[in-house]
């Protein structure tokens, strides 16, 4: 049990550092006033997605980092879960925005009402925002929630 906890702690420590870095990068890029794109990463530069969004990604990273010490304790673990929830909110918003973006043609006068198939699929191609890139890694927390739940139902005291 203790060994597995420490694996989790190390995993979320790394994820926490990356998340915090992404959050800071978001904020800095927005403050600099431009967008930034590298490989599959794209950092939005507008005040809402980059600025506020960056603040929230930063918070998520801090939640991870503050939760890893004494990872087995339920209150500490809750912080890690909360970090993931913040990422889910951010990534969920970004993905929902992509979906609503991909369907209409956005033509104003004439032409088709709906997007073309390549255009539709193209919306989902990379680059992605930091939160979307972090999403798969944040899902690991579900494994730990399940493990904890099964540990509790067997009557084990995991805290």
């Amino acid at each position: 049990m203790a060994e597995q906890s420490s694996t989790g702690a190390i995993y979320f420590a790394i994820l926490g550092i990356v998340t915090t870095a992404f959050g800071l990068a978001d904020i800095l890029v927005t403050a600099g006033g431009g967008e930034f794109s590298y490989g599959i990463l794209e950092i939005p530069g507008d005040l809402f997605r980059g600025g506020w969004g960056g603040v929230i990604v930063l918070f998520a990273g801090l939640f991870y980092l503050s939760g890893i010490r004494n990872f087995g304790d339920i209150h500490q673990f809750a912080k890690v879960v909360m970090g993931s929830i913040l990422i889910w909110i951010m990534a969920g918003c970004d993905i929902f925005a992509m979906i609503t973006e991909s369907i209409p043609s956005w033509e104003e006068e004439a032409g088709p009402w709906f997007n073309t198939l390549p255009g539709f699929l193209g919306t989902y191609a990379p680059p992605y925002s930091p939160a979307v890139l972090l999403l798969p890694f944040s899902l690991v927390v579900i494994y730990y929630i399940r493990k904890r739940a099964s540990g509790e139902s067997r009557g084990g005291n995991s805290s």
Binding site: I56, F59, A78, V81, L86, I103
Partner: protein, 411 residues
């Protein structure tokens, strides 16, 4: 026979000792997360994230329907078609129902979009269905979701400290949040406040400062860049005038403990029922009022009343508030529907700061007719008090916003 309070508690103590065993209380993950969302250090980041999510989804959804489909449907198809087939172009009925048009170099020209046309069947329908309907659908859906999960009382606890300063306990967030959907249920919900003083303060504040879902939706659509400023002015006003009212209104504002319910998995059927109920209400109440408001303002324009009012009130509008005299028209529409008023404001030519001032004025200047009726039902004395407060607030705060604009050099 009945017991005294002491005896009753004594009896309860006996009963519970005989029947209840408290096992070792193990915190579940749900409890731990619940605590995180209430403590300020961790709760404020979570609140920011939730508001962000709310706003982002709201914007995506409303943009999808309004900008993706309705704008084109109304501007490129519905408006030209009506302009073509409706008889009596240039006449008063045409102006009210379809298009008031404009005069360019001495000639009558038709409007190019549904916001500028001011007609009942064009502007009215476009505002009601094209803009406000998508906005309130997503707004109510998200609100219902947050309600049913049980996040709202936690937000209340978080905001409690701030609300105490204005003489309201955290419970006041319930009427406030309900008002964001529509002010009418917000006014009803003030009944959960304990004293007359609290009810009065709450009712007045929400009627003045809390924009309803329909209004927020249209602001998001027609003046998205200025929304932050408008909401900031409204929130600051809510707290400033709440603080002042708390000082001058006689009576008590007792403490109250909020029960924070556990988080729950929301039930889809319940959310569906709630959202549907509210949308049905929107169709019954809001749409007729939007159309009626459109007709009245259009009629008053035709009769020259609005131009006359604009001239008479020009010193107040231009001199004191720093907004163009044409805002008189939207202010009249605002009595019926604030969403319509904002839409009409958006096509008047003015600077961004004037727009901010004008939209804030529309928000605070008078409760819409449905809210007004509801307040009357809660008591005419309160209503008169609220109206008196409102007149003072509009002049003081409107002037103050103008002054801030002058000081910042943007007015």
């Amino acid at each position: 026979m009945t017991l005294g309070v002491e005896e009753r508690w004594d009896l309860i103590d006996k009963i519970s000792k005989a029947t209840i065993t408290f096992g070792k209380y193990r915190h579940t993950l749900k409890d731990a997360i619940g605590e995180l969302t209430v403590k300020p250090m961790t709760g404020i980041p979570v609140a920011i994230a939730i508001l962000y999510g709310f706003w982002s989804v709201f914007g995506s959804f409303a943009g999808f329907f309004t900008d993706g489909f309705f704008v084109r449907l109304f501007d490129a198809y519905w408006l030209p078609w009506l302009q073509e087939i409706f008889p009596g172009q240039g006449g008063w009925l045409y102006a009210i129902m379809v298009d008031a048009g404009g005069i360019e170099s001495g000639e009558f020209v038709l409007s190019s979009n549904c916001l500028e046309s001011f007609g009942v069947l064009t502007s009215g329908l476009f505002v009601a269905i094209g803009i406000v309907l998508p906005a309130i659908v997503i707004f109510y859906l998200m609100l219902a979701l947050l309600e049913d999960i049980g996040y709202m009382p936690r937000l209340a606890v978080l905001i409690d400290t701030m609300l105490h300063k204005i003489g309201l306990h955290g419970y006041a967030i319930v009427p406030t949040i309900l008002s964001l959907g529509c002010n009418v249920p917000g006014v009803t919900a003030t009944r959960i406040l304990e004293t007359k003083k609290q009810r009065f303060i709450m009712m007045t504040l929400l009627a003045i400062f809390i924009p309803c879902g329909a209004q927020i939706g249209i602001m998001q659509d027609v003046v998205p860049d200025l929304m932050g400023w408008i909401l900031l002015y409204l929130i600051i006003g809510y707290f400033i005038f709440g603080y002042i009212l708390n000082k001058i209104v006689p009576g008590k504002a007792p403490e109250f403990l909020i029960d924070v319910p556990p988080y729950r998995r929301p039930m889809l059927s319940n959310i569906g029922k709630k959202v549907w109920g509210r949308i049905a209400g929107f169709f019954k109440v809001a749409i007729p009022f939007v159309l009626l408001g459109c007709a009245i303002v259009g009629g008053l324009y035709q009769l020259g009343v609005i131009q006359w009012l604009g001239n008479v009130l020009a010193p107040v509008f231009v001199g004191w508030f720093g907004v163009p005299a044409e805002t008189a028209g939207p202010l009249i529409a605002a009595f019926l529907r604030k969403d319509l008023a904002v839409a009409q404001l958006s096509v008047i030519d003015m600077t961004p700061y004037q727009m901010v001032t004008a939209v804030v004025l529309v928000s605070i200047y008078f409760p819409c007719v449905a809210t007004f009726a509801m307040m009357l039902k809660e008591g005419w004395k309160e209503l008169l008090g609220a109206l008196a407060t409102l007149v003072v607030v509009v002049f003081v705060y409107g002037g103050l916003i103008h002054l801030i604009g002058i000081l910042l050099g943007v007015a």
